[in-house]
């Protein structure tokens, strides 16, 4: 959920209480993940890639074929500083199924997820919905209202996705900062409610 500095600290301000929260942005290819992260983040989305180090790029041998020995995984990555010592980190998860392994790492300790959906191809977000439901990671559906797409209500989408009751569906424009912020706010609110509900569950 969060990372916190708990040991002795240096001179850094607020180092004692620095808190980092992780939010995932998932959804099918072309649904607007990169756009959303870019719209709300104070830094340009950066890509973290797994690739061969320059130093390791010595020629591989076997007949001049430039064998690609690295999987390059580009992630959208943005940071929103709430205040000194409290930041929200956004990770746009790679869409392809073959990157599930990355999702596992990213979802560990995540506060929650935004699943972007496009009503013209709603099925693209099924895997993400399944994924977060199974792991009981709080998520909201953010319907990216592309111009020209037939407008569906939140209810229609909720039914079509067979969402658990209470899972928020928000209509948004991924390009719009305020709209993106609203999506994140709904997620944080929902994550808080889920957390409280679970606490009550465990208590009795």
């Amino acid at each position: 959920m969060a990372y916190e500095r708990s040991e002795r600290t240096g001179a850094e301000d607020d180092a004692d209480t620095a808190l980092a929260l992780k939010v995932l942005v998932a959804g099918g290819f072309g649904v607007g993940k990169t756009t959303l992260v870019g719209a709300v983040s104070e830094i340009r989305p950066l890509r973290t890639e797994e690739r061969l180090s320059r130093a390791g790029e010595l020629v591989d041998d076997t007949g001049g074929v430039d064998r690609k020995t690295t999987t390059t995984v580009a992630m959208d990555f943005g940071r929103i500083t709430i205040r000194s010592g409290l930041s929200l980190y956004l990770f746009g998860t790679p869409g392809q199924d073959r990157f599930w392994f990355l999702w596992d790492e990213l979802s560990q300790g995540a506060l929650g997820a935004v699943v972007l959906a496009d009503t013209r191809r709603l099925e693209d977000c099924f895997p993400a919905v399944d994924y977060f439901e199974h792991r009981r990671i709080p998520f909201v559906i953010a319907v990216n209202c592309f111009t020209g797409a037939r407008a569906y209500g939140a209810h229609d989408v909720s039914r079509a996705l067979d969402l658990d009751r209470g899972t928020p569906v928000v209509l948004c424009d991924a390009r719009d900062r305020d709209s993106g912020k609203e999506v994140l706010i709904r997620l944080v609110e929902y994550a808080g409610r889920m957390h409280t509900a679970r606490l009550l569950d465990t208590v009795g």
Partner: protein
Amino acid sequence: MNEHSAGGDPSVPGGRWYDSDAGPLVRPYAMTGGRTKPGPGNVRFDLIALVVVDDDPPGPAEESLLGPEHRSLLALCRAETQSVAELAADADLPVGVVRVLLGDLLESGFVRVSRPVPPARLPDERILREVIDGLRAL
């Protein structure tokens, strides 16, 4: 897959790090001496683990022995407390490499890396409230 990175340790098996479906990931890196696993206790730093310079670091003599990548990471940490993901992006290094290098820096006492808060200590309501208000005010 062959490992032949310069200075690589041939005894370190495999460059495979993630599952096989993801394809071969990274051969052991030259700059990490062929290691693909982070250092002490096999800690694998989370992408949002925060890295801070130690307030009682080794002296300049020891620092001068660090490699250029170690040093550039250290410089980034000094400038600002940053997450592992940011360091990787800013240093223009793969996350896997950064994890190994940070492990070295942690082990030798140059930096400290934040630890996960156990799930039972999820940010309390007050913090979440603060996040919501902060988002509104952006």
